[in-house]
């Protein structure tokens, strides 16, 4: 490894080979770095392929939809040439030509679906016009308007113009409860169709409530585990770890069994004469059910980080505070609590991140008003088939989660994440 261009100075320390020690060390440590990195490369490539690429592709889908632009070529050309001008005879001619082709290759449904995303109720306009497109004669404007006067709608042409380019921000606009107005500009959707912003707010509020409940229930438990002798603590720890290891669906099922109107809790309350038989509590298929079940499911994620922090707090600090005259409340507030902040932060952010993206439990016990943003994404993926909107909602959720993840890393550090 001797390189000829090293100056031969006597004051530089050298290895046996005659290379300056500094260079040799740099080479060796670079090799060590490369070797360490090579060990990680296979996994990194794997995660990239099965995780990063799919999510990236999904995000790109949230910005594009070519169901309209790929099938309505002539109209696309007209929009390119004329921009925002009012549709003239040439525009209607292009529309008629495109409708004819779409009738031939049976793509009118797709085209209509795309416009239907922006203007609900317009899908049938395209499918029925395409069926009759063969008989259209010039002048096309009158002919098409004779089929349906709705074709003159300004907002319809605005929607077609924005759909004629495959790249679009429309789905993000829709995910923020905005729609194309009559003048072709985005405006706030009517009050009764604004659902996504409300749903995001509800998701965040419920996640905060669940995280708060987890902290409220987890703090005493973690503290008890930390102060008990290790033998007793590890026995009690099993009670925390067993739910952690139990299948999510099992835990959700048990809550469904417990919370039903004819379930165990209601039976118990009736038996204790706390509620009458007719006044059984509705605890499932609403927010209460989601909050109870998710608090139970996420509680171990709060207890474990709290416990690992509390275990390291020496009890002598509290004793010193007491001997200096502090009351037990002051000791807790001024001495103990500040030392647990990092655990509270770790558990709190972890619970919140997991709660924000939760899907299974809200889907099963949430009913109508206890569902979260994830359930809406699943709805658009499986039922309404508006995949680009689903991708846009997922993209927004992803950004929120990544910000929280970044905060977690800054405050606690990812290396400090522990399981059990």
């Amino acid at each position: 490894m001797a390189s000829p261009d090293i100056p031969n100075q006597n004051d530089v320390l050298r290895t046996v080979d005659g290379i300056p020690l500094k260079t040799a060390l740099a080479t060796a440590s670079r090799r060590a770095r490369i070797r360490a990195f090579l060990l990680v490369v296979p996994l990194l490539v794997f995660i990239l392929l099965t995780f990063a690429v799919p999510i990236g592709q999904m995000l790109s889908r949230s910005f594009t939809d070519d169901k309209f632009s790929a099938n309505m070529v002539e109209l696309g050309k007209w929009f390119d040439a004329n921009g925002k001008a009012a549709p003239d005879e040439a525009a209607y001619a292009a529309l008629a030509a495109d409708l004819k082709t779409s009738a031939e290759d049976r793509s009118a449904g797709n085209v209509g679906t795309r416009i239907n995303y922006e203007l609900p109720g317009t899908r049938s306009l395209f499918t029925s016009a395409a069926r009759k497109a063969r008989n259209l004669e010039p002048p096309f404007k009158e002919a098409i308007l004779a089929l349906d006067p709705q074709w003159a709608r300004a907002d319809l042409w605005a929607a077609m113009r924005s759909a004629s380019a495959p790249a679009t921000l429309n789905f993000y606009q829709a995910a923020l409860d905005r729609q194309i107005g009559a003048d072709g500009e985005f405006e706030a959707a009517p009050e009764n169709t604004q659902i996504y912003v409300k749903l995001f707010i509800r998701t965040f509020v419920m996640s905060i409530v669940i995280t708060g409940l987890c902290l409220l229930l987890g703090f005493p438990i973690a503290h008890l585990l930390a102060i008990l002798p290790l033998r007793h603590a590890s026995l009690l720890m099993i009670l925390v770890l067993l739910p952690f290891w139990t299948s999510l669906l099992v835990r959700t099922t048990s809550w469904m069994v417990l919370l039903q109107t004819q379930g165990v809790i209601n039976d118990l309350l009736v038996w204790l004469h706390i509620v009458s038989d007719g006044g059984r509590l509705e605890m499932m298929y609403n927010q209460t059910g989601t909050i109870i079940a998710m608090t139970h499911i996420l509680l171990p994620f709060m207890i474990l980080p709290l416990y690992s922090v509390m275990k390291t707090i020496p009890p002598s600090y509290a004793r010193a505070a007491r001997s200096l005259g502090a009351t037990s409340w002051t000791t807790f507030r001024r001495i103990y609590l500040p030392q647990t902040i990092s655990g509270i932060g770790a558990g709190g952010i972890l619970c919140f991140i997991l709660a924000v993206g939760y899907y299974i439990t809200p889907a099963l016990v949430g009913g109508a008003d206890g569902t979260l943003i994830s359930n809406q994404i699943a709805f658009h993926m499986q039922k309404s088939l508006n995949w680009s909107l689903a991708a846009a909602l997922a993209g927004m959720l992803l950004v929120a989660v990544l910000i929280l993840y970044w905060a977690y890393d800054r405050i606690i550090g990812i290396d400090n994440m522990k399981l059990g």
Binding site: S29, F46, L224, T246, T252, T253, V257
Partner: protein
């Protein structure tokens, strides 16, 4: 921590009420899991304790829902229970098929996640690792990113490359979800690993491969196995990705449960749940034993 002698009456009262509060929270944690066990033996198709059950009347209990797990989906459930009946169970029963699928997918996903995860954790735990924090953040992100986003992404990606509805695609997806757990547990074990042992082995002429298999691996095995178990449980409990990228062939236990809960929740679900709880108790025991073994190996003694 015992009650100090200088405690005033208020503190005494708090000391005991604190224990009561903690006991109640422990009940909240564990009761939902335990309550489904007796209910799964209910003779009636209800989800609550009948008066007969509370009187411990043996007639109120039955194994019919467990039996239902075997017979559901069979071609001839009422036939004589001989070897051909059992072969019918093995080939046709829905829950048995689901269990087979779950085990196949879980097994291979665990192998992929554990092997790749352990190798990467070896690199990550080296002090000279470049971009350590960033890479760690990327590798742990499958645990953080909401499962619905991962599933949506995989749905599009797999439809494009023709992997949807294949076992291979499902195994890869489940391996991805299990990797963060392997990374976390194995790096935690590696942190306590005395690196001078490696240098000692190298000093005595062992190559890197020998050093790994003879020195490093025996010491980190408990961590690797618990990471693997975490990965297995993650796959065994995963339903959303299966729903999005799996075909009807890939009916796993969670998916079958999901369908059962969504359509008509029957007590058979409770029987499955009971079996799964017992399964998780076994896993927890194994992990706990491994943790103690690992602590003993590394010379950490419980205080």
């Amino acid at each position: 921590m015992a009650l100090p002698i200088y405690a005033d009456p208020l503190e005494r009262a708090w000391y005991y009420s604190y224990r009561v509060i903690c006991a109640l929270i422990f009940i909240f944690l564990i009761a939902p899991i335990l309550i489904i066990m007796p209910l799964s033996f209910n003779y009636q198709p209800y989800f609550t304790f009948s008066p007969e059950m509370l009187r411990l009347d043996p007639d109120a209990y039955s194994l019919r829902w467990y039996d239902n797990l075997l017979t559901f989906g069979m071609s001839a459930p009422d036939a004589l229970r001989d070897s051909s009946w059992w072969s019918d169970v093995w080939h046709n029963a829905k829950w048995v098929q689901a269990a087979k699928n779950s085990i196949i997918v879980g097994f291979f996903a665990t192998i992929v996640a554990t092997v790749l995860g352990t190798i990467a954790a070896m690199g990550l735990s080296r002090p000279e690792m470049p971009f350590r924090k960033l890479i760690m953040a990327i590798l742990i992100s499958p645990m953080i990113v909401p499962i619905i986003i991962t599933a949506t992404g995989l749905f599009f990606f797999y439809s494009d490359i023709g992997l949807s509805g294949t076992y291979f695609g499902l195994i890869m997806a489940h391996a991805t979800l299990g990797i963060p757990f392997v990374i976390i547990t194995v790096t935690a074990t590696m942190m306590g690993f005395d690196r001078s042992l490696i240098r000692a082995a190298q000093n005595m002429g062992a190559g890197p491969v020998t050093t790994f298999f003879k020195v490093q691996l025996p010491l980190i095995t408990p961590g690797v196995v618990s990471g693997g178990l975490f990965a297995f449980v993650t796959s065994f409990d995963e339903v959303v990705v299966v729903l999005f990228v799996g075909s009807h062939e890939q009916q796993t236990i969670p998916r079958q449960m999901w369908n059962g809960i969504r359509e008509q929740i029957s007590p058979s679900i409770l029987a499955v749940a009971t079996i799964l709880v017992i399964f998780s108790i076994c896993l927890l025991t194994v992990v706990e034993l491994l943790r103690r073994r690992s602590e003993r190996l590394r010379g950490v003694t419980p205080s």
